[in-house]
Amino acid sequence: MFPVGKTFVLQKLNNSIMASRIYLGELEELVLLMVALLNKDAYGVSITEELKKQASRELSISAVHAVLHRLEEKGFVKSRMGGSSEERGGRRKRLFSITAYGRQSLEELRDTRNTIWDMITKISPA
């Protein structure tokens, strides 16, 4: 049978971290970048607007919410309830901020890409 025990499970866990597979879709990465960019003021509406401004991506508000939920589930962002304001009809907003893990993942992704780009220019210069 399989060696199902504590050590075995730990080993499996280690392997997956070592492989450093970051499950981050293109849209998720983009939204995560926006959260980082907006720093303390990231919430549904501001992210939607920023996406339009920076990346010319028009997303519906519900789609943004869905991505934010996924990011929070995966631990890339964390959230807290902010203050209420009149322009929101007196309702509070949920403010998102990037976690250390989120930031590290973004950097790793960037590094990976840079490395690959370096290799591309070396092998087949334009």
Binding site: Y43, V45, S60, I61, M81, E87, R88, K93
Partner: protein, 885 residues
């Protein structure tokens, strides 16, 4: 700021209601903020549209619907509900038991009736073209009051030649019983069978018109296209083929029918399903009809009611158009008098099983009102068992007040209490349903002959029944459980813990009274109806039909040879136990007797042909059957067929004011001149459901098809057995090559009411079931009342009340309720019973005591239940009840 137009509010409340609670606020906020931004940039309409669009966008997101933690919670609660239900059901065992028994009986009866109704409705409902298939029926008489099925023999042939617009025409004739002989390879008869039904003549087109839907008939042997073309070829069903020949290929073998016709087996088909009104087992080619009825083939007037024609119409043709086509053909071939008084109309195939006035080959119809009545009975049985549950549950609620109070104190809200109590009901209903399913299975298998049904599968394997049971479970749970749980959960926590619930008014007692009245109204309707149905059956059995039916045995004469007849008569008369013997063409009445009609006409009367029943009989016919001669003389062998006897009604119809005036008068009978020799009393030649008939009797020894032996009365069982053995011996010696049969005449007459007898039994059964459920509920109810009032009873006794006083106190209320329900039940019962009785020309006269007597019976039974149950408390020593306070 107040100038800002508001966004559509419904989106906001929709999100508020549907979104997970911790997300609603931010979503609503974001939507509102976007709306504000849009207002600044775009038109109001656009902003509103985008608001709605964005809001609805959330409904397609998966995160919006996720409720992880909560659904987990629900499951725990559900588990908890079941656990609590189990505990409280076990805590009140007797109550639970009564509830389960009551619901089981109700559900089992409903399932049984449902299966029965479904079976009846399934008759011939499976043919692919059933909506376009019609039976040609014969409606005649001036007032179109005679409904028959027989079609004259040339009609189907002419229809086929002259009407091109019909899709298909198929004629058939059903003989039913047959003497079948199986010869071996050398033509010697080896075995002989008497089949009581199944012999039919059918055309090859039968199989095109009736395809038996998704369970088509399979041709196991023979060629379906050619098998039924040649005259005297026969196709057998599988089971009959096995019975006659065993296994193997039997095409080409021969069967001899009625000692006359040698038929060649040309095919074997699978058995026809039981739920068809074509009970065929031996299918002979219809072309044989020309050999059987040689002269009738061109006779447009004479008919045989077992000769049917079915037509299949094209989709675009209406029934009326088709009837007009047939009428044209009929008019072309017949004189004016005939086609004006006789009409060939069409009856939908879907009605063949349900219209009793026409009948069918199965001899079995059930009217739609009867089906409706059965369905109502089933519904009310379910209802009355639900009422039991409601009554007991509300009565019981007082005892559970503390439990409910405590639950509320511990934080139960009303919704969860209702769910809790509904779960209890659900468990009870579920258990009852499972038991009921098993019970209905047992009931159905035992009631097969009573209900006249042929089960093809078990109920618990039938998806339809299981689905219905599922619906019954849900609806009974809601119906029986909702009211008590709402009532109980309404209790005020503080009051219930302070034990302020020992009063009678708790738990909607007046509503309970209403329910008891409803329940007993249904019961009384059934009991009264059953009582009157049974009275009608007794009426049928005991009414003087105008002839004597006791101690008469009848035998068929398979071989009409006058020498044999004389021998038999001499031998019979020599027996000491024989009082008289009569030879006749038919019998005065009874089922399956030969029955032929002719027309009679008297010169000088208003030129009307009177259709009457023709009977041929010898001189002792009147004596054997106790028919009285009112005037004139009996027939003698010398009369031959020149003189006749007529019944009083026929004499009157012919225009003779008194019987004496008819004597010696001449009339024309089927064109022959005859003299009226005597007038006899009227008798019922059909059942009591119809009027007395008009009958004429002639002497015609060649027509005699059976003989009736009147036995000496005052015989004990043993000598009767010897007599029967002797009679059998005489018959067998006279007809060695036939299969012995005999019938008691009175049983033959009783068989008229077979179907009614079954209904009578069925309704007695229903009445008993209703009474049982009702009394069960009453028993449970009174048990609670008595228990709660035990102290009151004790104090009353101490203060000097007698036992009678207290029993009256307990039963008074129920007597009132049942009396009220009786008053409500009488009109309903009267209406039902009256419309049933009106189906019969002769029926009991309804009178007040027929309602009162069964009503009193119900009352007495109910009061007995109340008294029996309260007796224990009433008889108890007051000291024991008052000791603890």
């Amino acid at each position: 700021m107040s100038t800002i137009p508001k966004p559509p509010a419904w989106i906001d409340s929709l999100i508020g209601r549907l979104a997970p609670t911790h997300l609603a606020e931010e979503i609503q906020g974001d939507l509102y903020e976007l709306y504000r931004n849009d207002l600044a940039m775009k038109s109001i309409a656009m902003a509103r549209f985008r608001y709605i669009w964005n809001g609805l966008g959330f409904l397609i997101r998966r995160f919006f619907w996720k409720r992880n933690s909560i659904s987990h919670n629900n499951l725990t609660m559900l588990y908890n509900y079941f656990k609590m239900a189990q505990r409280s059901l076990l805590a009140y065992k007797s109550n639970t038991f009564i509830n389960i028994i009551g619901l089981t009986i109700g559900i089992a009866s409903a399932l049984t009736i449902l299966t029965f109704i479904r079976y009846e409705l399934s008759f011939d409902s499976f043919h692919t073209n059933r909506d376009n298939i019609y039976r040609v029926v014969r409606v005649s008489g001036k007032d179109m009051s005679e409904f028959r099925t027989g079609i004259s023999y040339p009609v189907p042939w002419a229809m086929r030649d002259e009407i091109t617009s019909f899709k298909n025409i198929t004629a058939m004739e059903y003989f039913g019983e047959a003497l079948v002989e199986v010869p071996d390879a050398h033509g010697n008869i080896v075995t002989r069978y008497k089949e009581m039904n199944g012999l039919a003549l059918v055309e090859p087109s039968f199989f095109q018109v009736f395809d038996f839907g998704d369970k088509p008939l399979k041709w196991l042997q023979g060629n379906p296209d050619k098998a039924l073309i040649e005259p005297l070829s026969v196709v057998l069903t599988e089971s009959l083929a096995k019975k006659y020949f065993g296994e193997g290929n039997i095409v080409g073998r021969t069967l001899r029918f009625e000692k006359e016709a040698d038929c060649k087996v040309t095919g074997v088909i699978s058995d026809l399903p039981p739920n068809t009104d074509f009970p065929f087992t031996m299918l002979i080619a219809y072309s044989t009809v020309k050999l059987i009825h040689k002269q009738a083939m061109d006779d447009w007037s004479s008919v045989d009611d077992n000769h049917y024609t079915y037509v299949e119409l094209p989709d675009n043709m209406s029934k009326e158009e088709a009837e007009a086509e047939i009428a044209k053909v009929h008019a072309r071939h017949t004189p004016k008098e005939l086609h004006e008084s006789r009409h060939y109309l069409l009856q939908r195939l879907a009605d063949v099983h349900f219209e009793a006035q026409f009948g069918n080959y199965n001899g079995r119809t059930i009217s739609k009102p009867m089906i409706l009545a059965m369905a109502l009975v089933a519904l009310f049985l379910l209802l009355t068992s639900c009422i039991n549950y409601v009554n007991l549950a509300t009565a019981q609620s007082a005892m559970r007040a503390k439990e409910i109070g405590l639950r509320k104190v511990l934080g139960s809200n009303r919704g969860s209490l209702v769910s809790q109590l509904l779960t209890e009901t659900f468990v009870v209903v579920l258990v009852a349903s499972i038991v009921a399913l098993a019970l209905s299975e047992v009931l159905l298998w035992n009631l097969q002959s009573l209900l006249n049904l042929h089960l093809q599968q078990y109920n618990f394997m039938d998806p339809f029944i299981l689905a219905t049971l599922g619906i019954i479970i849900i609806s009974v749970t809601l119906f029986a459980g909702l009211y008590p749980s709402v009532i109980v959960s309404r209790f005020n926590a503080v009051n219930s813990l302070k034990s302020k619930f020992a009063t009678e008014t708790v738990g909607g007692f007046s509503f309970r009274k209403v329910l008891v009245v409803v329940q007993f109204t249904a019961t009384q309707v059934l009991v009264v109806s059953a009582f009157i149905i049974v009275s009608q059956m007794n009426f049928f059995q005991n009414r003087d039909m105008g002839f004597n039916q006791d101690a008469i045995v009848t035998f068929p004469i398979p071989d009409r040879d006058s020498v044999t007849r004389q021998t038999i008569e001499d031998r019979l008369r020599a027996q000491s136990f024989v009082s008289n013997v009569s030879f006749s063409y038919t019998l005065p009445s009874g089922v399956n007797r030969r029955n032929s009609a002719r027309d009679i006409w008297r010169e000088g009367s208003n030129n009307e042909n009177i259709i009457y029943e023709y009977q041929a009989a010898d001189s002792s016919y009147l004596n054997v059957f106790g028919i009285k001669l009112l005037a004139g003389r009996n027939l003698t062998p010398l009369d031959a067929s020149r003189s006749i006897l007529v019944t009083q009604r026929l004499a009157q119809h012919l225009g003779f004011a008194t019987p004496v005036k008819a004597i010696g008068e001449e009339v024309k009978m089927s064109g022959d001149k005859v003299t009226i020799a005597g007038v006899i009393n009227d008798f019922y030649n059909h059942s009591l459901k119809e009027d007395k008939g008009e009958v004429a009797i002639v002497q015609n020894p060649r027509a005699y098809g059976n003989y009736s032996v009147k036995l000496q009365t005052s015989q004990d069982r043993e000598s009767l057995q010897q007599a029967m053995a002797k009679l059998e011996q005489i018959w067998k010696e006279a007809f060695p090559e036939h299969i012995y049969e005999y019938r008691f005449f009175d049983e033959n007459v009783k068989a008229f009411y077979e179907q009614e007898e079954k209904y009578a039994q069925l309704f007695q059964l229903f009445a008993i079931t209703f009474l049982l459920i009702g009394c069960l509920g009453l028993y449970g109810l009174i048990a609670f009342v008595v228990n709660r009032k035990s102290k009151e009873v004790a104090i009353r006794k101490v203060l000097g009340a007698s036992i009678q006083n207290i029993l009256v106190m307990f039963s008074k209320e129920y007597v009132q309720l049942i009396a009220l329900s009786f008053i409500l039940a009488v009109p309903a019962a009267y209406y039902t019973v009256n419309s049933w009785l009106n189906n019969f020309r002769n029926h009991v006269a309804l009178s007040w005591w027929m309602f009162l007597l069964p009503g009193m019976l119900v009352l007495v039974i109910a009061v007995m239940v109340v008294i029996l149950k309260s007796m224990k408390v009433v008889n108890a020593n007051p000291v024991d009840k008052l000791k603890y306070e």
